[in-house]
């Protein structure tokens, strides 16, 4: 049988993949995609806990799913703003490579 831990492990692996993408890739657009992966890994564990915590009425705990709804909305807004920043950056510098954008680097 599938346990709660199986879902949590899949979620952890997805989060680690997204984290590695943010650390390793230089292309800003791929970094944004990796951020999406990390947000979705968090969503998976939220939904797994929601299904795990069945209430007295025999229904899953829907609070976590409401939270997932909020996370998805914020993630969509974040992608839109991030991509607009990317377009503005490309107009100014003609690059999407984070190695070429080091003015704020300490």
């Amino acid at each position: 049988m599938i346990t709660l831990g199986d879902y949590l492990v899949v979620s952890a692996i997805l989060f680690a993949i997204g984290f590695a993408g943010v650390m390793l890739r230089r292309n800003l657009i791929v970094i944004l995609m990796s951020l999406e992966l990390m947000l979705n890994a968090a969503n998976l564990s939220l939904v797994a806990f929601s299904r795990f915590r069945v209430g007295a009425n025999g229904l899953p705990d829907y609070k976590a799913q409401v939270f997932v709804f909020f996370v998805i909305t914020v993630a969509a807004a974040e992608v839109a703003v991030g991509l607009a920043l990317l377009v503005a950056l490309y107009r100014a510098r003609q690059t999407t490579d984070v190695k070429d954008i080091s003015s704020l680097k300490f």
Binding site: T3, R51, G58, P60, F70, I72
Partner: protein
Amino acid sequence: MSPFLFWIFAVLTVIFGAAVVLNRNPVASALSLVVSFLGLSALFMSLDAFFVGIIQVLVYAGAVMVLFLFIIMLLDIRAEERRRINWLATAGGIGVAVILLIQIWVVIGHFQPARRTFPPLARHVLSGAEGSTTDDVWNIGQLLFNNYNLPFQIIGVLVLVATIGVVILSRREPR
């Protein structure tokens, strides 16, 4: 859901998630991300979260991915040329990710409820009769508009602000 289907979709999600990071071409990365999100949506549905699964397909595989592909093609981003790889930074990045994974793994290993299977839903829920799980849109809506009405409105304002911000950011500056 049968364990067989769970493992198929879990492996699909993880493999294509890895392909997002490993692919050199951004278009291939974006398309891998679509497949990964579809696998994730199947996992949501296996947890009886049909509303979240559908939203995942509509918002991510639909809207967000079109946005990514549109920007990639608008800016005509090519595959990254091979630069000299900074081995120290690469090893550091992979090392930190692996340490994070091991840490979460150990925490899950010590977490007692993680070894339990999911409790069954109520009988009337499973039979598809009155108030079945397909009613989870109704249930989430009740919770959203009764208990979480203020956060819901704040999210609406956030999306409005994001829309205005995007328009202002991508406007060509007058000279």
